[in-house]
Assembly symmetry: C2
């Protein structure tokens, strides 16, 4: 089978596995207090690509069969990702009415409700990791790394610099800080957790992390490019919003052409990083191309 | 020494221990991004009584000497408590400009900044627990229970019902749900973690949990009463704010006299619960009286 076809099939299968875990874990919509659970479910099932959980499961299956033991960890990462989207959309931060072509959480449920739904997803992600059937030491390690890279030295720190850069001209160094922290670290961690739980040897773990670094950057550059050039129907958000409010993006700092060139070069580097892993990295290789060429 | 004097001395000592851990763990104010760390520190060191960590350390010391091993867990609980205060004060929820006589976090740092500082405290609390020098199994258990009782079946759920009850007449059942979840569960958990880590036998753990349930309720009733009767200079917030916006409080649902009577009765029940634990519960006994009679 062509590796692109194989990739699409595998992504779809693993998306479904993650969705099953999320559906099982999250309280029903009609459980009290209903609006909390409705809001959580609404955002979790709003059409996310499940990219981060996919990376976790893919890396795990490079070393162990059947990704089921790691699925709660993968689902927890998706919950954390969803929490960041809900809070970012709030009037306190980006004030976005739409996300993936649908009303954002607060636009539909109210601001206080969305704030709390985000909080609940963040806190519940940690509960979900404690339920994974992996060694207690590994669960503690994942929680520590995830909390660290999501908090004061990661995602939230990146978001803080992002909001404080709004309306200002940012340097390349600041842009790098924002994206490394806001995007790349969680993507990288997704891959790392899968590899660690799978038992990847140290040199292969290093290769996967190198891939993760490049991949995370490509993901963000393409995201920024799609924001100014993409098809609004496919993207599900207003095009050019980042530009209007002068956000720190790759095209605004590097220019469109240079950003496109960089995405291409970094994709090659990502693929190079895992070339020595042989056949078991074939889907990661295909995924790098897929991310570069995505239209939404 | 009189037990009230002993209690005050012990509270002060343990407050200092918790403050040391919090100060060591949180990044310096001048670390990048500065406003994130300034905002986190501002709210964490805004004069909290450290009641929850005190309960954890007190319960632990009933069974083991020197509460140092449990201090990171105690400090983590305080960080979670602080996260709830920051998010509650946001315009999305209560829109409070003041907290403990000082500007609230968002009033001083901005709404996006306060939102992120709250998020960062929540996520960092979990990191801090992974660093406690207790068995990995116990760390996993504490994280699971804390995440559960702070999230979809606890604190955040209670807060959701609270905001959705605003401006409505609430039933006694709803009021009980709000306070059980929003206040009592975290207080109870604080005591429980200390007792569990200390190695309390099952019957004593049960007695402590009974105490925790009563104590948590008294804490909330007194809080509500102080809001309508307290001295604003001592409380550091505007008196009667709960009344103005018709919040679900004990005095508004039960009446002032009945609330006061209930607080007294529940304090007696709390003390009764631990009477069989003998001398080692002397400070918990004194603490129940202290909470009932507090003026701020």
């Amino acid at each position: 089978m062509d590796k692109r076809v194989l990739l699409k099939k595998d992504m779809k299968e693993k998306q479904e596995l993650v969705n099953i875990i999320l559906d099982r874990y999250l309280p029903r919509k009609d459980e009290y207090p209903k609006n909390l659970h409705k809001a959580m479910r609404y955002s979790v099932f709003a059409g996310g690509k499940r990219l981060r959980p996919y990376l976790t499961m893919l890396a795990y299956e490079m070393y162990k069969e059947e990704a089921e033991a790691i699925t709660p960890v993968a689902a927890a990462i998706e919950m954390i990702h969803t929490f960041t989207l809900i809070h970012d959309d709030l009037p306190d931060i980006d004030d976005d009415e739409y996300r993936r072509g649908k009303k954002s959480c607060h636009a539909l449920f109210g601001e206080g409700e969305a704030l709390l739904a985000g909080d609940a997803l963040l806190v519940s992600a940690f509960e979900l990791i404690t339920l994974a059937e992996i060694k207690p030491e590994l669960r503690v390690r994942f929680i520590r790394e995830l909390a660290h890279e999501c908090g004061i030295e990661g995602l939230i720190a990146g978001q803080m610099v992002d909001i404080e850069s709004e309306g200002k001209k940012v340097t390349k160094k600041t842009l790098q800080y924002i994206h490394e922290n806001k995007t790349a670290k969680l993507i990288n961690l997704s891959l790392r957790f899968g590899a660690l739980a799978g038992g990847a040897p140290a040199n292969e773990l290093a290769a996967l992390e190198e891939y993760g670094n490049y991949f995370g950057l490509v993901f963000q550059i393409v995201d920024d490019l799609l924001d100014i050039e993409g098809d609004p129907a496919k993207l599900g958000k207003s095009i050019g919003k980042d530009e209007q409010v002068q956000k720190a993006t790759f095209p605004s700092v590097w220019g469109v052409e240079a950003s496109r060139k960089q995405a291409l070069e970094l994709t090659e580097k990502a693929k190079q990083s895992i070339s020595k892993l042989g056949d078991k990295a074939i889907l990661l290789d295909a995924l790098a191309d897929y991310m570069l060429n995505r239209k939404s």
